[in-house]
Amino acid sequence: MPKNQTPPLLEIKNLHARVEGHEILRGVDLTVYPGEVHSIMGPNGSGKSTLAQVLAGRETFEVTEGSIAYLGKDLLEMEPDQRACEGIFMAFQYPVEIPGVSNTQFLHAAYNAQRKYRGQEEIDAIDFLKLVRDKAKLVKIDEKLLSRSVNEGFSGGEKKRHEIYQMAILAPKLAILDETDSGLDIDALRIVADGVNSLRGPDRSFLVITHYQRLLNYIVPDFVHVLHKGRIVRSGGKDLALQLEEKGYGWVEKEAVAAAV
């Protein structure tokens, strides 16, 4: 898997995590190199979203064992905002509504916070507006949405597009898509996928978490992993997703049981 001498972007080793006393992740190992697109699939309750939340730094999840190295640094030591400033972006499965904070105000604050962290000069509202207008076209976001409150009154599809739009502006090194495709109609799915594909590049990796193989017709992954009961039980190329589609998750579950015996 390693590509010449490039160090990994993300290295998860034996990750265990729990929420409210329940162990959800039970030893996840995963290595992601720059520019790779990894898809994580799995049935409900397998721990997909927990993995995303742990990577983003959600405090409700407690890591009990294992390690996560990000660009060689200990990710678990970083606050959520620091992780974002270091280039991690998670597109939320359920984007949060924040009445009273306008999208533009929110994104400008986030953008400048990240620049400040990296020792870059903050940019003013006028220059920022130019940037957001360009990116809005990318995911076909209506500019009117930008003056509204964050996610407030957005349709499901608008919320997901808005996540990709934020990703385009913040230009992360590691983008985690937490079931961004769930609940999207085919047109919205295409817009989201086109947005993601246009952002693919040698310096940006993706962790595409999905329940459905359908998304992977549009965002073609380099690797597919199947998560089952908090562990990756099978990894392969994009064909693995098709096999899963055909045979269902029951197939890997049986295999996982057989392997454990």
């Binding site: 983003a56 730094g57 959600r58 405090e59 606050e79 959520p80 905002d81 992780r83 974002a84 400033c85 972006f89 998670m90 939320f92 984007p95 949060v96 924040i98 009445p99 009273g100 904070v101 105000q105 929110f106 994104l107 400008h108 604050a109 986030a110 953008y111 400048n112 916070a113 990240q114 962290y117 903050e122 409150s149 964050v150 934020q166 913040l170």
Partner: protein, 446 residues
Amino acid sequence: MITMSPEKTRTAATLDRLDVSAVEPGPEWLYASRWAAFERFRQLGLPDTHHEDWRFTNIAPIKQTAFTLSSPAPNLTRSVIEPLLIPGLDCCRLVFVNGRYQPSLSDTAGLPPGMGLWSLHEAFTTKRSLLEEHLGKLTNTDKHPFAALNTALFRDGAVIFVPRGAAVSRPIHLLHIAAPGDEPPLISPRHLIVTEADTTLSVIEDYATLGDGVYLTNALTEIVVGPNAQVTHYLLERESPRAFNVTTLHVHQGRDSRFASHSAQFGGSIVRNNVSPVHAGEGGHSLLNGLYVLRDDQLVDNHMRVDHATPHCDSRQFYKGIMTQRSHGVFRGRIIVRQDAQKTDAKQNNQNLLLSEEAGANADPQLEIYADDVKCTHGATVGQIDEDQVFYLRSRGIPHETARAMIVYAFASENLERMPLQPVRQLVQRLLLDRLPHGKLLEQTL
């Protein structure tokens, strides 16, 4: 009768032992009503928390304080009051220091023809018929001890008269500055605002302090909103942390009138604000919009009473509170819909955000409905900062404290944005940012 003896030595006393003989009695035609109000005040006494209207508001510290009725106004220069003016507001201004009108600090130029703006003290002699027609007519001194006390003691304030058809483009700023001395003064401002049909007027009732002494402001304002008139009233509470403040606003709304009350409360130790519009004519609209942002041991109590006496009126109450440390916010919103007031549309909402474990809030909506074809809704919430929202902002790189401040500011912003006068809104915004934990962090992001 009240006897006049201006030479009497100054003595401070608790409110139940006030010696009113030291009070300037004002015009003779007021003696009878003053005396009756004072008698009534003595009978009523000061409320305690057994009193339904004061259940959550313990005014023991007010009861225990000895107040003086004699509080001469120090001579203040323009430069001293300059920081208290509202930046960018082109307005007429009456300045009161310790309750007394200060012509040299005021500006009453450029009023529309026929419009009147006087100090109450002056109007006692020059506008007697206007006062006799309206003064005290909206006030129930029978039930409300602070209203009775104000009626017994007021000696100055503002009188505003807007004649039919006049649109007053410059707002009127009533700036009350307390400069308490060694003995805590009791200051009793009294305002009367009468607008005739088809008029427009904005008034800002503003309370501020020089220094940090103890005193009680017990103010009462009556507003007659004429048919098809539009009156916007602002209340700014930015007094010192040791000030006591009781304000009472009675509003009588004529047919098709629009009245808005916007209050922004940051200051004071114990603050009680009563707002009572009466929809006395069909087709009227009232908006009661308020924001209270408290800290330390502040106790702020907003008492709304919206009386729908006629059909086809709309009323809206939107109050929001942010409490830090041990502060406490109280909201009581009563909507009364009388039997004839069919097609009433009344909404009330009170939301509170507690930023500490010790902070508290009481929300007490009350509906009293005697008509059967009406739409009345009410809602109240008391909550903490939503951690999902904080995490969402942080996950984009916004630091923790900034994220929290953004969310708290956003909570208040809705009420801020309802205030139409931009300079007032900007002042309230500044007071809000100064008050919020880490509000400074937000200045760049707004």
